[in-house]
C-alpha cells in the first residue's frame, strides 16, 4: 500500500498539455479536478450513472469517472472549461443554457454542456425527441428537463447561425 506506483503522465486538456504524477487508480475525473485544478468537471455518483462528470475524449462524450487518467494519455480531452469561444464569450451551448434557463443549481450542467456540444456537432438540427435522447444519459435533479431540452434546440440554432466549428 505504501509503495503504490506513481505514473508520470501528460494529459492534453482543452488543447494544453498538463503534466501530472498519479497512481494508476486515479480516475480521470479526479485527475482533472485535483491534479490539474480543473474543477469545472463535477463528480456526482462516481459510477457512471449521473453524467455530471462527462467530458469529451477525442470528441466523444465519455464518463471521466469510468476512465483512469493513465488510460487517457494520448487522447485529446475537452472539459467544460474548453467550451467557451476563443474570445472568452460563452460557447453556443453555454449561451443557450443561459437564454433558456437550462440550469438552476448548476451541478449537473458541465456534463450536459459537453454531451450537447458533441451531440449537436453530430446532429446540427435535432428534433425535440432527438434532443431528449441526446441528454438521456444525464441526470438533473433540480432544474428539470424541459428547459434543458429547449436549450439543446436553441444551442443547435445558435451554432447553425454562427457557423461555429464546435
Amino acid at each position: 500500500m505504501s509503495t503504490e506506483q506513481i505514473h508520470e503522465i501528460r494529459l492534453n486538456v482543452n488543447g494544453v498539455d498538463h503534466e501530472a504524477a498519479v497512481p494508476a487508480r486515479r480516475l480521470l475525473s479526479d485527475a482533472l479536478r485535483h491534479d490539474l485544478g480543473l474543477t469545472g468537471t463535477h463528480v456526482g455518483c462516481e459510477h457512471g450513472v449521473c453524467g455530471a462528470c462527462t467530458v469529451l475524449v477525442d470528441g466523444q462524450p465519455t464518463r471521466s469517472c469510468l476512465m483512469f487518467a493513465v488510460s487517457a494519455v494520448g487522447s485529446e480531452i475537452t472539459t467544460v472549461e474548453g467550451l467557451a469561444r476563443p474570445d472568452g464569450e460563452l460557447g453556443p451551448v453555454q449561451q443557450a443554457f443561459r437564454e433558456c434557463h437550462g440550469l438552476q443549481c448548476g451541478f449537473c450542467t458541465p456534463g450536459f454542456l459537453t454531451t450537447i456540444t458533441a451531440g449537436i456537432a453530430e446532429n446540427p438540427d435535432p428534433t425535440e425527441e432527438e434532443a431528449r435522447d441526446m441528454v438521456a444519459g444525464n441526470l438533473c435533479r433540480c432544474t428539470g428537463y424541459q428547459n434543458i431540452v429547449k436549450a439543446v434546440c436553441r444551442a443547435a440554432e445558435i451554432a447553425r447561425e454562427g457557423g461555429d466549428a464546435l
Binding site: 505514473h7 487508480r25 459510477h47 464518463r63 488510460s71
Partner: protein, 288 residues
C-alpha cells in the same frame, strides 16, 4: 468510492499482454471499463494488476459479410452500431446495441468486453447465445473459439481462463425466411432492464418453422428458450400463452429494489408475446 491500489500495465502487443496476464494470476483485462471501473470503485473487485489493452493494434475492426458480423475486442459499441453492414447482416445485433446503456457509455464500452463480462442483465451476452455466436480468445496455448453455450458458466462468470484475452466475437448472419425483434423495459431510459426479450423466428409461408427467445435480467446466466414446440407452427393468443409458459418454466426471476420476481415474470410473459409476434411479422416481411 475509489478503487483499491493496483499495478497498471499498458502493453503494445498481444504477446506482451499475454505475458503480463500469465505473470499475475490476480490480473484483470481493462478494455472499455464501463462495467469494470464501477466494480473497482465500489471495491466489489480488487485485482492486483490491470492490463490495459487499449493500446493493442488491430483489434478495433468491425466486419459484416455473408458469414455474419465479426467484432474486434477494441471496437466500441457506438462504432459497431454506426457500421452500416451490421444492421443488414444481423439486425438483432443493431437492435440490441441501441439498448445498451446510454450513448455516452457506448462511446467507450466495448462489445466484446460486455460479452465476456457475462452479465445476465446485459443485452449482448443474451444476443450472442440466442444467435449461437462465439468468442475467439487467445492464450498461452494459442487461439480457440468458445461457442456461446460454453461461454457462460455462472453469474458474471465466463469460461475464459485468467491468462486468456477475448479478441473477437462472431454473430452469425440472419438466416433466410427469418425475422428478429428485441424489446426491454427499464425504470429509466438507459438503465439496466427489469426484463428484456429478443426473438428469432423462421417461417415457411405463414407457418412458424422454428422460434427461439432470449431473456435478460430474469436468470443467473443469459437464458435462451426454444419455443418451437409451444407455438406449434402458428402465432395466436393461445400459442403465445403456451410459449410464455414454456419460457417461465425455465426462467428464474428474482426480486430486487427495481422489481419483484412476480413483476419480472409478468414482463417476461408480456414481452414474449410481443417480441415473438414482432419477429414473426419481420420474418414474413423478409420473405416478401
Amino acid at each position: 468510492m475509489k478503487p483499491a491500489p493496483f499495478d497498471y500495465v499498458r502493453p503494445g502487443s498481444l504477446e506482451e499482454a499475454l505475458q503480463a496476464l500469465a505473470g499475475h494470476p490476480e490480473a484483470k483485462v481493462l478494455a472499455g471499463g464501463q462495467s469494470l471501473v464501477p466494480l473497482l470503485s465500489m471495491r466489489l473487485a480488487a485485482p492486483a494488476v490491470l492490463v490495459d489493452i487499449n493500446g493493442l493494434p488491430d483489434l478495433d475492426h468491425v466486419r459484416a459479410d455473408a458469414d455474419g458480423v465479426r467484432i474486434g475486442a477494441l471496437a466500441r459499441h457506438a462504432q459497431v452500431l454506426r457500421h452500416p453492414g451490421v444492421a443488414q447482416v444481423q439486425p438483432l445485433v443493431a437492435l440490441a446495441l441501441a439498448n445498451v446503456a446510454h450513448a455516452t457509455i457506448r462511446n467507450r464500452g466495448t462489445t466484446v468486453g460486455s460479452l465476456v463480462h457475462a452479465d445476465a442483465a446485459a443485452e449482448m451476452p443474451m444476443v450472442l447465445r440466442l444467435l449461437d455466436g462465439s468468442v475467439d480468445v487467445v492464450g498461452p496455448e494459442g487461439r480457440r473459439t468458445i461457442a456461446a453455450p460454453d461461454l457462460y458458466v455462472g453469474p458474471l462468470e465466463s469460461s475464459l481462463h485468467h491468462d486468456e484475452i477475448a479478441v473477437e466475437a462472431h454473430f452469425p448472419a440472419l438466416a433466410a425466411h427469418t425475422g428478429v425483434a428485441f424489446e426491454e423495459i427499464a425504470r429509466r431510459h438507459g438503465d439496466y432492464a427489469m426484463c428484456g426479450v429478443a426473438a428469432v423466428v423462421t417461417v415457411d409461408g405463414d407457418r412458424v418453422v422454428s422460434a427461439k427467445a432470449g431473456y435478460l435480467s430474469v436468470s443467473d446466466i443469459p437464458a435462451v428458450v426454444d419455443l418451437t414446440d409451444a407455438l406449434d407452427g402458428k402465432i395466436s393468443d393461445a400459442s403465445l400463452a403456451r410459449a410464455a409458459d414454456a419460457a417461465l418454466a425455465v426462467l428464474d426471476p428474482e426480486t430486487d429494489i427495481h422489481a419483484t420476481a412476480d413483476y419480472r415474470a409478468h414482463l417476461a410473459r408480456v414481452l414474449t408475446a410481443r417480441v415473438v409476434t414482432a419477429a414473426y411479422d419481420n420474418a414474413r416481411e423478409e420473405k416478401a
